[in-house]
């Protein structure tokens, strides 16, 4: 069992991404936990390094320099617990997203029931579904066996049967998995997670325990036909993911050892934190967290009682980048660019970037392309994740996003944008929120790290969140409206605490900024035009107290869904204008 972290203990947390390894140090300052230092270093998962721990040690070494606290001994081992001379830390946790997406086969009974649940479960970690076996599968068992032998999945997720329900059909589904695993060399056998009819656990154990690399059980994802509960299985799947990664990635064992087992998949830890936050902060609306990096795009939506997690390696900005073109066109990516860039240049960029996922944009043109790609990838991820949101979360119009408050954003592509304005505009374009929202930027990738730390000490997340370690980008009002360009959408009046006020008349197709510094609040009164919904219902006016941020109060009058002009020249001018509005 991992040692628990008691209040007052210092904590070192490391996030191992595909491109970057980030190390952050938390300790108690004046009675409260604070983020003391945060550094990043290139990850070393890939050749020529091929040792995860090397990148972790490099990041910790840089953290030593930044914090002035010795953390590694002469043998580059972590000093733990903290020493009387001030060196070392009391606890260490880590999150991991690096490595290729796990090749996953899903097995279930009915396509729209257990198989659907298995697919949704697979989407809760870094997987790529390579095969799907169900009752409606027209292949013979031996063909299914041959497919599994050819694909050699890292993980097999088996669902099916309500508790106490079907057993014979599930048994039939186990056959190809068991036989294929038996025929594979031991080092290539998959890890198997059984999340079906619990009455079959013993039978599954008897059939599969000797032919899998590891066998895991979780409560049924479909205890009844009407009920789906993925959370316990997702917890088990997080363990499966780490087990596979420990076999795949050299040096991870050392990190797991330092963490006393406290290593979590990054997306899982992010989900845990969103659930925690949504219980504290979310009122009638949900809370949204997006993260996009080299490994994947991750979208987590937290509601008072539950959360939905979507992990999309296909929308990651690293080695998988060319796969993005299976989901979108070059033209759709370029619609976001303020520069005139050809589809050929964009295609070359995508393939070259995939060769060097950790490389960054050095020129303005490359940065414009990178931001266009990020916008489209995140847009697709949010559109995909939207399907999982509970029906009770109603959007102002069909097809739009329900209102979220706040929206948290992290990941290298967002946190490292040159300006806060560019980050915010990218998020507005990709997410297209509705109503009133606060945007918070997690520049240090703290959210998943706090999620990992929360298991040891629930005080750290609360105190760090309130310490200003996250950057508020500001409050955004997104008008849901369709109108002609230039027509009035909303009149806004911001009354500051000192009695001064700022006003704006926001026209369709434009963005307006009202200054409100981080840490300040003011009263915002909105008078929408007929039919426009700014969060109070179509055409309804209202007043609300809003908090400031790097960009103050932003009123987005571009309409939802955001429709860009067809004419490329006019479109680029408009995108340029929006970019200029948020500071260039």
């Amino acid at each position: 069992m991992p040692a628990s972290l008691i209040q007052g203990d210092s904590l070192l947390a490391v996030n191992i991404g595909a491109a970057t390894t980030r190390a952050v140090l938390f300790d108690v300052v004046e009675g409260e936990y604070r983020l003391l230092a945060s550094v990043s270093s290139p990850s070393t998962v890939e050749a020529p390094f091929q040792d995860v721990s090397e990148g972790v040690r490099n990041a910790i070494s840089a953290l030593q320099t930044a914090s002035g606290r010795p953390l590694l001994n002469a043998d580059r081992q972590l000093i733990t617990p903290s020493q009387p001379d001030g060196s070392g830390v009391d606890a260490f946790v880590s999150t991991l997203s690096a490595g290729p997406a796990l090749k996953t086969a899903v097995v279930g009974l009915l396509d729209e029931v257990s198989l659907e649940s298995a697919l949704r479960l697979a989407e809760m970690t870094y997987t790529r579904v390579v095969d799907s076996v169900g009752l409606n599968d027209h292949r013979k068992t031996d063909q299914q066996i041959d497919t599994l032998l050819r694909l050699q999945p890292d993980v097999v997720i088996i669902t099916g049967g309500t508790d106490g329900g079907a057993s014979r059909s599930v048994h039939k589904m186990l056959e190809p998995v068991g036989l294929a695993s038996y025929l594979l060399p031991p080092e290539k056998r998959p890890a198997v997670l059984f999340a079906g009819n619990q009455k079959l656990d013993d039978e599954v154990k008897g059939l599969l325990s000797n032919v899998t690399s590891s066998l895991h059980f979780s409560p049924n994802v479909r205890p009844s036909l009407e009920t789906e509960d993925l959370e316990p299985a997702a917890r088990e799947l997080a363990g499966v993911f780490l087990g596979v990664r420990q076999r795949q990635l050299k040096g991870l064992d050392a990190v797991v050892g330092w963490a006393n087992g406290g290593v979590l998949p990054t997306a899982y830890a992010q989900n845990r934190m969103v659930r925690f936050l949504s219980q504290i902060y979310a009122g009638n609306t949900g809370l949204l967290s997006v993260d996009i990096g080299a490994s994947a795009a991750v979208v987590v939506a937290g509601f008072a009682q539950r959360s939905t997690l979507g992990v999309y390696p296909q929308f990651g900005l690293g080695e998988n980048l060319p796969a993005l073109l299976q989901y979108t066109s070059l033209e759709d990516i370029l619609r976001w660019s303020s520069l005139d860039i050809s589809t050929g240049v964009l295609r070359d960029y995508i393939y070259q970037k995939a060769l060097y996922p950790s490389s960054i944009s050095a020129t303005k043109e490359e940065q414009a392309i990178a931001q266009a790609v990020t916008r489209q990838a995140l847009y697709l991820a949010v559109q995909t994740a939207k399907r999982k949101f509970p029906r009770s979360m109603r959007a102002p119009r069909p097809g739009l996003l329900p209102s979220f408050e706040p929206i948290l954003a992290g990941g290298g592509a967002l946190g490292d944008a040159p300006t806060a304005g560019q980050s915010l505009l990218l998020l507005l374009d990709a997410i297209q929120p509705t109503g009133l929202t606060t945007f918070i930027l997690d520049k240090n990738d703290l959210l998943p790290l706090l999620g990992a730390a929360a298991a040891r000490n629930s005080i750290i997340p609360v105190q760090v969140l309130e310490s200003g370690a996250f950057q508020s980008l500001g409050t955004v009002v997104s008008a849901v409206v369709s109108a002609s360009y230039g027509s009035l959408v909303v009149r806004a009046r911001l009354v500051y605490d000192d009695g001064h006020e700022a006003v704006a008349e926001v026209k369709y197709g434009s963005l307006e900024l009202l200054p409100l510094a981080d840490g300040q609040s003011a009263k915002l009164t909105l008078q929408p035009s007929r039919g426009a919904d700014v969060g109070f219902g179509p055409g309804h006016s209202g007043a609300v107290r809003v908090s400031g941020g790097a960009m103050g109060v932003v009123i987005d009058g571009r309409g939802r869904p955001l429709t860009l002009p067809q004419d490329p020249g006019r479109r680029r001018e408009l995108v340029k204008k929006w970019l200029w509005t948020v500071g260039g």
Partner: protein, 351 residues
């Protein structure tokens, strides 16, 4: 900061491990001299499987069917062999539909493997076998010039190095490929048309070393039976001057082009090896170093993608780049005398 190294070396010792994906038979011997296309290990496995449900065929329970199965694991059966006979006056029989080997019996079923796939593992480099990895493969050592690329189509071959790139950015066209080039490993600049790749296949050439390729041609490049390696990347990049110089100064020498697929996790890269006679073993290349002033580097991304330069100054801390991003960076003097600011993460040391 740690720096990856791209090997472009006029003379070095090259050690390569070549292993089968699964256990098989190693045919090479210790200290054996091998050419790149020699088979060093091989393995056979079943192409497909046939599952025979005896219980269902004889209308019996699995346990009852098990008692009637007449074959055991390991048996090789010819097509039509009877593997189970039912009960009664006119008993049903279950026959094997195809020739195969029994791999599993039980639960009233028999699983046969049928057909055979065979994989031969080639040496990939010309050299001497210095280690046998039992059942899996070999380690081969060679001495010579080494040029690593960024992408390969998975093929390997050996031929005489021939230069068709008068400049590093010369576009190779089908018209340049005539019958005199049959059997050559061709040095070229960029490739922009599928018919160029197809014309090379028709000769056939023994390999194509390109600076860059249009991404839209990747499916065609994968289909080609001859090896194709890109030294620099995708699009219209010229060949980096270090690779160009080294390759063109070795024209008419025999070269092995092992266009192995780039695998970032295993560390495999496509490479050209030009065996050279040596009196003593040259130093092996270093795989990792740290960035330092004076190092020769290759730029991975714009500006000046693919160009070779020298680190003039490593800036302390983070530097704001023209893109607006902030990152550890260095001033690089390019071979044309121009000086550019490049993030370290976009550099690789040449050596």
């Amino acid at each position: 900061m740690l720096a990856p190294v791209r090997h472009i070396l006029p003379l070095t010792t090259i050690l390569r491990e070549r292993v089968l994906p699964i256990n098989g038979k190693v045919s090479a011997r210790l200290n054996q001299k091998v050419s790149a296309t020699d088979v060093v290990a091989e393995v056979s496995w079943a192409r497909e499987h046939v599952l025979l449900d005896i219980g269902r065929a004889l209308n019996l329970s699995p346990d009852a069917a098990d008692k009637l199965i007449q074959c055991k694991v390991g048996d090789r059966l010819s097509a039509g062999s009877v593997i189970a006979t039912g009960r009664g006056m006119l008993p049903k029989t279950v026959k094997v539909p195809r020739e195969g080997k029994v791999v599993v019996t039980g639960g009233g079923q028999v699983l046969l493997e049928v057909g055979e796939s065979h994989t031969e593992l080639r040496a990939g480099i010309p050299g001497t076998v210095t280690q046998i990895i039992p059942d899996r493969g070999v380690v081969i050592q060679a001495a010579g010039a080494l040029v690593q690329g960024v992408w390969g189509n998975g093929r390997v071959d050996t031929g005489v190095l021939t230069n068709l790139a008068e400049q590093p950015d010369k576009v190779l066209t089908a018209e340049r490929l005539d019958v005199s080039l049959r059997g050559s490993v061709i040095i070229a600049g960029q490739c922009k048309e599928a018919n160029t790749l197809q014309a090379a296949a028709e000769l056939p050439v023994r390999g194509l070393i390109l600076a860059s390729l249009f991404p839209s041609l990747l499916p065609v490049a994968h289909e080609m039976r001859y090896p194709i390696m890109l030294t620099d990347g995708f699009g219209s990049m010229p060949m980096n001057s270090a690779a160009y110089r080294l390759l063109t100064t070795n024209v008419k020498r025999e070269a092995t082009l092992n266009a192995e697929n780039f695998d970032r996790y295993r560390g495999t890269l496509p490479e050209v090896i030009i065996p050279l006679p040596v009196s003593s073993e040259p130093a092996p290349p270093q795989e990792v170093t740290t960035f330092a002033a004076g190092q020769t580097v290759r730029l991975r991304r714009p500006p000046a993608a693919g160009m070779i330069g020298t680190i003039i100054v490593l800036h302390p801390g983070l530097t704001t780049l023209p893109s607006g991003l902030r990152a550890p960076a260095a001033d690089i003097k390019l071979e044309n005398g121009e000086q550019v600011l490049i993030p370290l993460i976009n550099l690789e040391v040449v050596g």
